[in-house]
């Protein structure tokens, strides 16, 4: 069902994902424990998927950035379900990346970089890969849309 979705909240979320992965990647060159920002990000995304009020970056937008006029709202008639699915998928991939970090660090980091890359593509070009997967699964009848 469509409703008004504030796309600035989605964009803040994407920017948060990109920034966290980049910080984890850059900081870990000097201080390896910085990679644990990745499991933290996985928890943030998964918690936000289950309960929107726990979505840290979106709450940062709703509680701080929007009220202070730092980011302007951009309401669009849209379905929040596909975006929520995409966020959950990002969280799952980051959780897998987190499990791989102690076993195969380059693979774990590469997965995290891929999640950040897809968030960047969505932020810059409006292409939501998770939403396309949501559509394909719906078309196959694997999820109820």
């Amino acid at each position: 069902m469509t409703q008004l979705v504030d796309h600035s909240a989605l964009r803040t979320n994407q920017a948060g994902i990109i920034a966290t992965v980049l910080v984890a990647l850059a900081a870990s060159t000097a201080f390896w424990p910085a990679v644990w920002l990745i499991p933290l990000l996985a928890v943030i995304l998964l918690a936000g998927t289950v309960r929107p009020e726990l979505a840290l970056f979106k709450q940062l937008y709703f509680q701080v950035l929007r009220p202070r006029g730092i980011v302007r709202p951009r309401p669009v008639e849209d379905s929040p379900t596909a975006h929520n699915f995409a966020q959950g998928m990002g969280g799952v991939v980051l959780a897998i990346a987190s499990l791989l970090l102690p076993l195969a660090a380059p693979v774990g980091l590469a997965l995290a970089v891929l999640v950040a890359f897809l968030a960047f593509v969505n932020l810059a070009f409006g292409f939501c890969a998770g939403c396309q997967i949501y559509y394909l699964l719906g078309r196959q009848g694997l999820i109820r849309t």
Binding site: M1, T2, H7, L25, A26, S28, T29, V76, E77, D78, S79, T81, A82, H83, F85, A105, P106, V107, G108, L109, A110, A112, V113, L114, F117, G126, F127, C128, C131, Q132, Y134, Y135, L136, G138, R139, T145
Partner: protein, 124 residues
């Protein structure tokens, strides 16, 4: 250095995925082109959309709305799965330019800007 290896691995995955996407698009287009999309009549556009497709609302629909005098048939790709599968719709939006004989002459997987649609309609 682990970080460099990770960046290289991610770049390889992105390049391979982009290549596969290009291949899938070419194959899907090849199978969809020339299919009978409807009865003979006026040239028109079949526009596959869906509830969760943001680009459909923010980009594709405004572009289609600016087409001069060309009928657009909007299709919910999840509600009309048979039609979507027939045209190998694997991404939303998808637009199919149909000529007056009812045949699909151009298929665009992903957002098709106004200039592209106009050129395809002029090329029927």
């Amino acid at each position: 250095m682990i970080q460099l290896q990770a960046l290289l691995a991610a770049a390889v995955v992105v390049i391979v995925a982009a290549g596969l996407l290009g291949l899938v698009t070419r194959q899907a287009r090849g199978r969809a082109l020339g299919l009978q999309a409807g009865p003979a009549g006026r040239a028109h556009i079949l526009y596959f959309s869906g509830e969760g497709c943001t680009v459909c609302r923010t980009h594709q629909e405004p572009a289609l709305g600016r087409l001069d005098g060309v009928p657009v048939r909007k299709v919910d790709a999840l509600a009309e799965r048979d039609l979507a599968q027939r045209f190998r719709v694997f991404t939303l939006p998808t637009t199919v330019v149909v000529d007056a004989s009812g045949r699909a002459r151009h298929v665009n997987y992903g957002y098709a800007p106004l200039s592209k649609l106009e050129a395809q309609l002029a090329n029927l």
